[in-house]
Subunit: 264 residues, 2 copies
């Protein structure tokens, strides 16, 4: 759709979670991210671009690709772009995408012998969520579930810091973790949590073929109920003085052990 | 010193690197960080607080501690605090600190049999630098050196994301990495870099007693010259589709292997 003043206002509002939830839309900026986005199974509603952005051959290729896929492409002025873009030095191109919400159950892969799922219990920082999705994608995790109190998956900072993984890595949101974990255990999953006083050192963990690994919030770690449901509590041993590790870093360290020989 | 209008302007300017460099000062906010700061070897020049902040017992204890250590403590109005604070919902207390700049040479610990140093080659994101310092501190690394083109150590976001490690973990800045690495090698250090095509898998690395581990920038990795000087190139194997790992995550994964049995 052409960019009326009202439309611009609505797009700008997509910086806020509430407007994203109501519309089911989110915004993607940056040529590299948009290239991942346009060739993914996500629907791109509109691609806005400025005349100036066409100086860049990569951006031109992106536009061609979008048109080939019948995306509605709209040229707008630099001033209009400034009114809808959330970045200070943008590349003059911005996509409006429809959110995807895969149901958590389908991630559990009932028929599969091998499966690894990451659950996040209240991760609040957008950069942390983005980097965790990237790490999970890197280490071949099959999918991720986010508890209700996590930061919104379609927050612009999260989208940016997934570095494109968002567009091919399945993430279920607003998940009630406790019933899902019970369900997963009934399906044969072993549930792991990280804990400062965990009884298994991360270097020695041999993950089960079906593993469900839960990481907690920056402030509180995993909730007591999740901890009680867990089968294995994993510790990352401290040798220095820092009070804690960043949750994204802890997650990367644990997931890097995912492909050691399985335990069963 | 009392907070004149001019002084407030100068403090506010400390958000910028140039002003921090010229004055040798930086700003610390948040009660927890300030508690670490006040009991560290760093010099706190002034502690500004509002009347309201004294409602919190932790803040009162902090103020007492600061006075015991002869820090200049100044009560200011909420409005004045707003004019110097960089955070939207501050706790009404802010410290002005003197920067420390340990020389890189002293970190190499000439007399020591065991030593691990982390070098950063152009890490640009403040959150990444902060979380790397935190990880290095957690895993008992002895010190860190930053190349000239890294983000400023005293950037408020870096300070915050070190979660206090900044105040006891030694970091040398503005370091010319190449001569330092040559020097370290002459002293018996083994130099490690991470590289996508590294010949040693991270799980199999046994770090030498004297290890110098270099991580590269978010965009380019380590520079060619650093790579050529390195003894071991470490790879973190990919099992999924993500293009890369966040540098802070990669660093955490590598450092988590630091305390496996040494190679020599």
């Amino acid at each position: 759709m052409p960019l009326t003043k009202n439309a611009a206002k609505e797009l700008r509002a997509l910086e806020k979670k509430k407007a994203r939830e109501q519309s089911g839309l989110f915004v993607v900026e940056g040529v590299r991210l948009l290239r991942e986005a346009v060739s993914s199974h996500f629907t791109m509603q509109t691609l806005y671009y400025t005349e100036g952005s066409m100086d860049d051959p990569e951006t031109r290729r992106l536009l061609t690709e979008a048109r080939n896929r019948s995306v509605d492409c709209q040229q707008i002025t630099g001033r209009q772009m400034g009114s809808i873009s959330g970045t200070v030095q943008g590349q003059g191109i911005l996509g409006v995408m429809c959110q995807e919400r895969p149901p958590a159950d389908t991630l559990l892969r009932p028929g599969s012998e091998e499966s690894s799922i990451v659950g996040l219990d209240g991760v609040a920082d957008p950069g942390n969520l983005g980097s965790i999705i990237r790490s999970a994608d890197w280490f071949g995790v099959h999918g991720m579930v986010l508890s209700r109190n996590c930061v919104d998956l379609y927050n612009p900072k999260v989208v940016r810091s997934t570095m494109g993984s968002l567009f091919h890595f399945p993430v279920a949101v607003d998940v009630d973790l406790l019933p899902l974990l019970s369900h997963a255990k009934a399906m044969g999953y072993t549930v792991y949590v990280t804990a400062a006083d965990g009884e298994q050192h991360v270097d020695r963990v041999r993950f089960a073929r079906k593993s469900f690994i839960v990481f907690g919030s920056e402030a509180w770690g995993v909730s007591d109920q999740v901890r009680q449901l867990s089968d294995v509590r994993v510790a990352i041993r401290r040798y220095g003085l820092a009070e804690s590790l960043n949750v994204g870093v802890a997650c990367g360290i644990v997931l890097s052990g995912l492909h050691r020989m399985p335990a069963d």
